[in-house]
Every structure is written in structure tokens, then in C-alpha cells.
């Protein structure tokens, strides 16, 4: 069984079945992509895996523990973290503070300890700041640590969101369309960052539209169409799969 095991998850919104009995496995140490035309149910599937939506049927288990219907913050504590399609940062906080918030589950200081500035809390804050600086350097944002997050350009916002997600020291990271709105150079930098992250021991699942990026970095691909899984396999097989080609060409030509 994989690190993440999805068994028959289903989600209905009124009459529409957004995700229909989808099952797949994600193995440790890989980059896994979920692709599919618009409205295929990719983002809903992500929300189901991370506790932001509850499935109507099916189970999700992560490292042997069932996480179906668990609240999002508990899932993060177990080591499964996500980013958002439209990059949700804490704009009024600094770049460094954003990463420190990402480290919330690994730090403990509460209201009382912080108010009294206990030595344990001071030490924790200092170590957390050092770690946050290290994570920022990992995604090449080291020199803008004190900038306001809301002032960063789009491409760097994506990288900051990844650094923030890494702050929880996740075992598995789900990225929702990390390349959306990035230019070619930024996408190349993103691919490089994803490989670096995977090599540091974090398993990755990406929902992605950018076929170039998907074919470039993925070890395994799941294809969704109209809520159902229509194909699964390594990039070379997926590119030749007739069902995949039809699903895409039926809508628009693949731009890669």
C-alpha cells in the first residue's frame, strides 16, 4: 500500500458528481501528478484529501491512518500539507513571518508562555527563525525575508507558499496548480525546486495544467475527466493513452 491511499472517494454538489469513485495510491519519494480538463474534479479531489471538504463516500488514508473527514489542521499535524490554486499568503505579514506561521505545528509556545517570555519560548522562537531563514534560502527567497509578502511578484509568491508549506516539515505535499500564471523561466525554477524538495525526502502530488511541467517532473500521473479516473501511469504511457487524448482533444488541443 502507498503512503497515501485513496479508495473510491466520491463528492456530489447537488446533482453534480464532482468526484466519482476515484481511487489511487501515492508512493513515498515520488512526484505524482493529477491532470485533467477544466472541471474534471481535480481541485475537489484535493479538498477531499486535505479535509477542506468531506467525501460523500470512500476513504483516504495517510501512512496507515484514516484521515477521511478529519479537520484540515489535524491532517497537517500528521504530515500532509497543501497549497492553493490562487496562492493564499498572509499578505500583511513579512515573508519570514509567513514561513513561521507554516511552522505552527512544529512549535508549541502558547499565550501564557509567550506573554511571560519564558526562556523555552525565546529559544523556540530563535530556532524557528533560523529554520525559516534556511527554508527561504532553499527556494531562493533568502534576501527578501523582511519584505511584506503582499509586495512580492507572482512567481515568488508561489515559491513562498511552498516554503511555508515546507515549514510544517511535511511527509507529503499537495500543490494545486503551482505553475499557473508563471512564465517559462519561473516554471523551470519551479520544476527545479520541486525536484530539490522531493530529493529532501518529501513526497509530492501536483494538480497541474502545464503539460510541459507535468511530463518533465512526474513519476506517475492520474488523469481525471468529469470526476472519474480515466487513466493512470508514467508520463510516456499517459501521452499515448487514447482515452486521455480524446478527453483533451474533445475540449482543446494539448498545448505542449
Amino acid at each position: 500500500m502507498g503512503m497515501l491511499s485513496v479508495q473510491g472517494i466520491t463528492k456530489r454538489f447537488g446533482g453534480l458528481t464532482a468526484v466519482d469513485a476515484v481511487s489511487f495510491e501515492v508512493h513515498e519519494g515520488t512526484i505524482h501528478a493529477i491532470i485533467g480538463p477544466n472541471g474534471a474534479g481535480k481541485s475537489t479531489a484535493f479538498n477531499l484529501l486535505t479535509g477542506f471538504e468531506k467525501p460523500d463516500a470512500g476513504t483516504v488514508s495517510f501512512e496507515g491512518a484514516t484521515i477521511t473527514g478529519m479537520r484540515p489542521h489535524r491532517i497537517v499535524r500528521l504530515g500532509l500539507v497543501r497549497t492553493f490554486q490562487n496562492t493564499v499568503l498572509f499578505d500583511d505579514m513579512t515573508v519570514l513571518e509567513n514561513v513561521l506561521v507554516g511552522m505552527h505545528v512544529r512549535t508549541r509556545a502558547g499565550f501564557i508562555g509567550s506573554a511571560l517570555a519564558l526562556p523555552r519560548v525565546r529559544t523556540e522562537e530563535r530556532l524557528a527563525a533560523e529554520e525559516a531563514h534556511r527554508l527561504l534560502r532553499l527556494v531562493d527567497l533568502g534576501e527578501v525575508a523582511d519584505a511584506r509578502a503582499g509586495d512580492l511578484p507572482h512567481g515568488r509568491r508561489r515559491l513562498l507558499e511552498i516554503a511555508r508549506a515546507l515549514g510544517s516539515r511535511p511527509r507529503l505535499m499537495l500543490l494545486d496548480e503551482p505553475a499557473a500564471g508563471l512564465n517559462n523561466a519561473e516554471t523551470a525554477q519551479l520544476a527545479e525546486t520541486l525536484r530539490r524538495v522531493r530529493d529532501s525526502g518529501v513526497t509530492i502530488v501536483v494538480v497541474e495544467h502545464d503539460m510541459g511541467l507535468v511530463m518533465d517532473v512526474s513519476d506517475e500521473i492520474v488523469v481525471l475527466n468529469e470526476g472519474r479516473k480515466i487513466a493512470e501511469g508514467p508520463p510516456l504511457l499517459i501521452q499515448k493513452d487514447p482515452a486521455v487524448i480524446e478527453a483533451y482533444l474533445g475540449e482543446e488541443a494539448v498545448d505542449a
Binding site: 497537517v76 492553493f84 498572509f90 505552527h104 508549541r108 511571560l116
Partner: protein, 338 residues
């Protein structure tokens, strides 16, 4: 980044000057009227410190904080009149407010924006009704008279100076503790919730628990502030614990600037002193002061609207852009390599 230490030094200097002024005031100020106003500033600061955490940092509005002020004041006043020692009455007052906060927070903090505003407003009105109708405890609309001054054994704060010092000692401790919280992990979590609850959850923050905690803390500080008020003035009546007071508190935080404790302090000082401007500005005519007092509610309302429309960063936003300009100038004069 030469700008950071410069800002920090400036902050410490300002804090030291403010602390010196606060401590010197009762020995220098001979005008009892002015000392009274300054004591009210201290009482309001305790309340606003809590509201700043709740509203300014976590972004959760409350239009019912006067109720916690009242809960603290009536509980402590009533018990002290029965002969309960002041420290115990104080603890009971704070606990009553905290409990009220918890009971309101558990169901309400699932609500957002306008709904949370309505729920807290409703709570404030219910408590006001309660303060007016439970005459056995509160004395009804006639109020609760003859509340003894704060004290512990032979130490009694019964002069204007000692009362001032007690209130400000508590206020300084509260502000110091709050300042410690906001720049550490819980403060960041509160600001994260304000920024985006969804993203805060995705960072592993238990947003519901965090919001309930900060609501209870702000209610407890409201209660503490109410306890000090009751034993300071010796007489309390429902007319103090109205929606208007709750709105003034929100205006103080908004004027100061969201997400800034220092701003909230400035907003509190300004708005508390405004109707008594003649006590600090000697030449001010009687007519002007009367105008300020008659129009007090309207001024508060206008301040709130103007801040929302034209200076969403509040006083703190101005302060920040001022500091930014200074550090840019410093960087330039240092050769522009910062």
C-alpha cells in the same frame, strides 16, 4: 538591513519616555480632574489591549465588549460590598467575564463578519437588560452605590494618586504581556487567521480553538478593566455599559490601526482625552469643550467612518510609513548600500 535596529532603538526610546511620563504624572499633575481623566485612560487601555488582540490582530469583531466590562464591575462591586476581600472580588470579576466570553464564543465564533457582529451586539444588549433588571444584585437603574476602593489588608488605594498608580501598574503589565504575545507564535497565528482562515488551517492552526482562546482573553481583560473601574468610581449603573461604549472601544482599535498594539494605545489615549481636551490644552474655551462633549458620539462615529474610508492603516499605518521614510533616508546617507 540597517533599518531594523534603528526602528527598535526608536521603539525602546519611545517606550522609556512614555513609561517615565506615566510614572511621573501623579506627582506632577496637581489638577485632580486631569488625574481622573488619565486614570480613565489607564482603565480603557486594559480593555483595548484585549480588544486589539481580538479585533486588531485576529480580525474578529465584537460589538458587545461593554458587557464584559459590566460583568467584571458588577461581580466585583457586589462581592466587595458583601465584605469579600478585593483580590478575591477581582478574581471573581475577571472569571465571570471570562466565563461570559467563553459561553458567547463557543457558538458565535463559527459565525463570520456581520453575523459575529450581530451575535456580540445581541449579547451586549441582553447583558445590559440583565444589569438593569436584576435589581437585587445590580441595584437596577439606580446603580450599585458605595463600592469600597481597591485594597489588600492595610494597603488601600483611596487617594487619586494611589488609584491612578494601581490602574496604571495593571495597565502597564497587561500591555507588556500583550506586546510579548503579539510578536510571537500566538500573535502570528492570530494575524494569519485575520489574513485567511483557510490558509491558517492549511498551516495547521486550529482556528476555532484559537479564536475561542483570544475571545476569552479579551473578555477577561474587559472584566479586569471593569473591576478597576468599579472600585475606582465607587458607583456603577447600567448607563456605563452600553452599545455606545462597545462602539467607542472598536473605534479606538480602528483609529490606532489593525494589527498594532501601539496604535491601539494611541487611539485609546486620543479618544478618551478628546472630550476633556481643556484639561491638557489650557487656552481652550469652555464653549469648544462643551461642543466636543455634546457631539461626542457623533465625533466617534465620524472618526470610525473616516478611518475606514481614508486611513485603513490607522495611526499605526502613518507611523510605519514615517519610519520607512526615515530608514530610506538613513540608507541613502549611509551610501545607499543597505
Amino acid at each position: 538591513m540597517a533599518a531594523v535596529p534603528a526602528t527598535r532603538t526608536l521603539r525602546w526610546a519611545l517606550a522609556a519616555i512614555a513609561g517615565g511620563l506615566v510614572l511621573a504624572a501623579p506627582f506632577v499633575v496637581t489638577d485632580k480632574y486631569l488625574l481622573r481623566i488619565l486614570t480613565f485612560v489607564g482603565i480603557n487601555l486594559i480593555m483595548v489591549a484585549g480588544l486589539s488582540l481580538l479585533f486588531g490582530y485576529a480580525g474578529q469583531i465584537s460589538l458587545g465588549h461593554a458587557a464584559f466590562y459590566g460583568l467584571g464591575a458588577y461581580t466585583s462591586g457586589f462581592l466587595a460590598k458583601l465584605g469579600v476581600a478585593w483580590p478575591l472580588a477581582l478574581v471573581a470579576g475577571v472569571a465571570a467575564a471570562a466565563l461570559g466570553g467563553l459561553l458567547l464564543a463557543l457558538p458565535s465564533l463559527r459565525l463570520k463578519g456581520h453575523y459575529l457582529a450581530m451575535a456580540t451586539l445581541g449579547f451586549g444588549e441582553i447583558m445590559l437588560f440583565f444589569f438593569t433588571e436584576t435589581e437585587v444584585i445590580t441595584g437596577g437603574s439606580n446603580g450599585l452605590r458605595g463600592i469600597p476602593p481597591a485594597g489588600l489588608g492595610p494597603l488601600v488605594a483611596d487617594t487619586p494618586q494611589t488609584k491612578y498608580l494601581l490602574v496604571w501598574a495593571v495597565a502597564c503589565v497587561v500591555l507588556l504581556l500583550a506586546a510579548n504575545v503579539v510578536r510571537r507564535r500566538p500573535g502570528r497565528a492570530l494575524r494569519a487567521i485575520h489574513g485567511s482562515e483557510m490558509a491558517a488551517q492549511a498551516c495547521g492552526i486550529d482556528t476555532v480553538r484559537m479564536k475561542v482562546q483570544v475571545f476569552v482573553i479579551s473578555a477577561a481583560l474587559g472584566g479586569l478593566s471593569g473591576v478597576l473601574y468599579a472600585h475606582y468610581v465607587g458607583f456603577i449603573s447600567p448607563s456605563t455599559f452600553t452599545l455606545h461604549y462597545s462602539l467607542v472601544l472598536v473605534t479606538m482599535v480602528a483609529l490606532g490601526g489593525m494589527g498594532s498594539l501601539a496604535g491601539a494605545v494611541a487611539g485609546t489615549v486620543l479618544l478618551t482625552m478628546l472630550p476633556y481636551a481643556d484639561a491638557i490644552i489650557p487656552g481652550l474655551s469652555r464653549a469648544t469643550v462643551e461642543l466636543l462633549q455634546d457631539w461626542e458620539s457623533d465625533i466617534h462615529g465620524m472618526v470610525l467612518i473616516l478611518v475606514m474610508l481614508f486611513m485603513p492603516g490607522g495611526l499605526a499605518g502613518w507611523g510605519r510609513s514615517f519610519l520607512a521614510r526615515i530608514s530610506v533616508r538613513r540608507a541613502r546617507s549611509a551610501g545607499g548600500d543597505a
